[in-house]
């Protein structure tokens, strides 16, 4: 299966009369774009705001990030989400690089939403301080969840996927600056040299813990709570087969942008044929009950064994009770002789003294740490806020609070903030971007 990603590097984004990509500048006709968004009648108010790296801007509550893309052959970018269910992972897709569409609440935040600072101390916490962000700031008629801490955020999330596709259209028929090629031979049809290398699988555990549908990551539009692990091609992940959900505390989240650019997959591709034989992805999930967790780990270990994997990387979109799925899966692989490395974040508490993962097993002897969700972060006021700053304190974002005896509220009168890393949008970059680790002091 061969996937070509045609890259168009965006140096600047501006509003103008015609939505187009010219001389590395993306121009957006705001009204036209907004009209397209408003075709979803659940969007009651919408605006587009551009935020660039280095600007003194704070964005909150951020619900989703998407890389703008289009397929020249007309298939939807996100099958089962922005269009019919179609194949992904092969053929050509065009991508606008260096930009991201952000789905932002005009007022209302929820548990899994996060914050982005485009400059200053706060910028180092998230990848999305380095992209030019096209913020879809919207309100919706989803009254049933207006005051709920957990929100599906359906309209805003779908709005950002659709907007990403709308912007992608600008490069449908253009020649990309660069074409990345991703190709793996079928597992049993590889050369002898390749077969002599250690075989490696990537086990992904996307967030799927809400039993009520609508909050979880989707694979081809299918809710991953109602799913058992299967073998997938890494190209499918890079090519829009999965979209992010609306549940996990923001710093542990894999946004759709993360799936589209998954650094662990890209790194495995880089080593493919050199130090390893990259077999593919065992796509698992994260569960609520022990029985479900066990079932998934049984599926994963069996698939790895049947494929003849010598090694595995396991990575989870989450922390807290999902650590059980993570550690159980690592242990299940080690038990059948698959040498395994885990990549995830930790929760050592504000004081750093708590147990880093909720379950521990000495079999997990090779772990990469991408951050501590409960680290306290204080940041000065920003000149401009996109969205609504109060959402951080008022709406139950996982790293914000309305009231605390010692620390006071998360949002101070002067606009400065105090929060847990938990609410940094994709702050722990578990997909593999993270240059953070956790050390003992």
């Amino acid at each position: 299966m061969k996937l070509e990603i045609g890259n168009f590097y965006v140096k600047d984004v501006a509003f103008g009369n015609e939505t187009k990509f010219e001389n590395n500048v993306l121009v957006i006709n705001k009204e036209e774009a907004l009209n397209y968004i408003r075709e979803d009648e659940h969007i009651t108010e919408a605006d587009l705001i551009i935020a660039k790296p280095g600007e003194n801007v704070r964005i909150v509550p951020v619900k989703e990030a998407v890389e703008p893309r289009i397929r020249p052959d007309g298939r939807p970018v996100f099958p089962g989400v922005t269009g019919d269910v179609e194949k992904t992972g092969e053929g050509r897709v065009h991508a606008l690089k260096g930009v991201s569409v952000l789905g932002v609440g005009k007022h209302w935040g929820s548990f899994g939403d996060g914050l982005i600072d485009m400059s200053g101390e706060g910028a180092k916490y998230t990848l999305f301080s380095q992209t030019i962000n096209i913020c879809l700031v919207a309100d919706t008629d989803e009254e049933y969840e207006r005051y709920e801490q957990q929100k599906k955020n359906h309209a805003i999330r779908w709005g950002s996927h659709r907007l990403a596709e709308y912007i992608g259209r600008t490069v449908r028929n253009l020649e990309p600056e660069e074409v990345e090629k991703y190709e793996l031979e079928p597992v049993t049809k590889r050369s002898e040299n390749m077969q002599n290398l250690s075989s490696v699988v990537l086990v992904m555990q996307p967030q799927s813990q809400m039993e009520e549908l609508g909050y979880n990551d989707l694979v081809y539009g299918w809710d991953m709570n109602k799913y058992v692990p299967t073998f997938m091609h890494p190209n499918e992940v890079l090519d829009g087969a999965i979209i992010s959900g609306s549940f996990m505390p923001a710093s542990s989240k894999w946004s759709t942008y993360d799936f589209q650019n998954f650094p662990i997959i890209k790194e495995l591709y880089k080593e493919h044929g050199k130090s390893i034989n990259f077999l593919g992805v065992i796509m698992s999930n994260l569960n609520v009950s022990l029985e479900q967790k066990k079932r998934s780990s049984i599926f994963v270990a069996q698939i790895a064994k049947s494929l003849g994997a010598d090694g595995a990387i396991v990575t989870e979109e989450g922390y807290g009770n999902p650590d059980t799925d993570y550690i159980m899966c690592i242990a299940a692989l080690e038990d059948i002789g698959v040498k395994t490395v885990g990549i995830s974040n930790e929760c050592t508490g504000r004081d750093g003294a708590s147990q880093p993962l909720v379950t521990l097993d000495v079999k997990a002897n090779a772990l990469v740490s991408t951050g501590n969700v409960s680290e306290i972060i204080k940041l000065p006021p920003a000149e401009k806020v996109i969205g609504e700053l109060q959402a951080l304190a008022r709406d139950g974002l996982s790293g914000g609070w309305a009231y605390d005896e010692i620390l006071g509220p998360s949002v101070k009168e002067d606009g400065s903030i105090i929060m847990e890393n938990n609410a940094m949008f994709c702050g722990d970059r578990i997909a593999g971007w993270s240059t953070k680790t956790v050390k003992e002091f």
């Binding site: 039993e211 609520v288 009950s289 022990l290 009770n321 059980t324 550690i327 159980m328 147990q355 909720v358 379950t359 521990l360």
Partner: protein
């Protein structure tokens, strides 16, 4: 929390769904529940079934408090 109470000599039984977490935390007496969001009564079943399940599992937990155990123990439930 659990350990502070047991450390003071009061026997405590942990009713939870995630047995591995409970074992890692260091609970000595554990009785399984059916899920995280509804430990003791599945809303998709009848009131009567939920009651029976809850009555049974809490009874197992109460009996567990009287058991003289030597190591971390997960007690069996029937329903």
């Amino acid at each position: 929390m659990l350990k502070e109470i047991e450390r003071a000599g009061i026997p405590i039984v942990h009713m939870c769904n995630l047995i591995p977490v409970s074992l890692t935390v260091g609970a000595n007496k554990i009785v399984p529940t059916i899920s995280i969001p509804y430990p003791l009564g599945d809303p998709s079943t009848s009131e009567e079934e939920q009651w029976k399940l809850r009555y049974h599992r809490v009874e197992v937990a109460l009996n567990a408090l009287t058991e003289d155990i030597k190591d971390q123990t997960v007690f069996n439930v029937k329903i």
